[in-house]
Subunit: 179 residues, 2 copies
Amino acid sequence: MQRKSFSKMQCPVARGLDRIGEWWSILIVREALHGLTRFDQFEQSLGIAPNMLTRRLAGLVKAGILEKRRYSDRPPRYEYVLTECGRDFQPVIIAMHAWGNRHFAPEGQSVVLVNARTGKPADPVVVDRNSRRPLVDSEFRVAAGPAAVARTRRKMAASAWGIAQNPPLPAKRKSRTPA
Amino acid sequence: MQRKSFSKMQCPVARGLDRIGEWWSILIVREALHGLTRFDQFEQSLGIAPNMLTRRLAGLVKAGILEKRRYSDRPPRYEYVLTECGRDFQPVIIAMHAWGNRHFAPEGQSVVLVNARTGKPADPVVVDRNSRRPLVDSEFRVAAGPAAVARTRRKMAASAWGIAQNPPLPAKRKSRTPA
DNA sequence: CAGTATCCTGTCCGATACTG
DNA sequence: CAGTATCGGACAGGATACTG
């Protein structure tokens, strides 16, 4: 029972972590977003051990983030391409990239995002699609979504949902013995 | 030598993962962004074992993401508050949140971001701060930053830097000749 | 209440060797 | 070339007991 399945949680962040929580998985997806598709491409660019790569790749396929596709028959060959779900992970990568660049680049930013045409560096921010206003905590908060309100009766750790209580934060009874 | 230190890599994503790569760490930061500061708040809202919490908390402090602050002397009491670096992690959380909501919410979105005043749900996107244009791969690409160009002579796996080769995308060769 | 100390299990990950 | 098989170490994570 090593890892409590985060998927049990209602929090979408936890659910996501259940799919790509491992270090390599994220880096593999990053490479895939760069266009890599084949085993040895990942192996070489990441310097990952082949068995680990096999495992992570299989995990990502099972999680629905990558799709394994046979692209050659005579010698059976497969390629790994991102699903829509995998491609949708890009904003997370970009956000992580920006964060890393800002705080963990002692010698300066070694890698930056640039506009493909102008070549001008980009500065990634997360905004609301409609208002285009930055999503900062002062202006936005998390709330129960449609699916949650439909079953508010259920007793759960609200914070684990990603739901911030507006008031202080109630003491959450949580029996340590589920069953 | 269990985990190859990702910090060795020049890739900012890898460096970031070196700091908050563990599952719990991310969830702890998420809770901290919600305003939690004390040990038992984290413990209860996450349902995490106390020793794990101690370890992750210590790790986050060492990574410079949380700061441990004594807020009471008579009974020595500490609180854990986000550093600037930790607060800057919020966009990543938001992006992950959106991703999880989009793809792993079978029964509908249980948690959504809303505008604090209007209550209207927000739809997070990553854009360039200046142009406000969405950062999609068709329009943007990664490139060597200032720190990288200064030592281009060094031989490294380019992709591990997060540097995409300018041409179409190196892996995109659709050559039907596997080997 | 706010943690620390111990012990244990699972598994992430690396290294290496092997196969069609 | 594109992986699979096997081995072993380190540590995340869980359960429990204990302390000021």
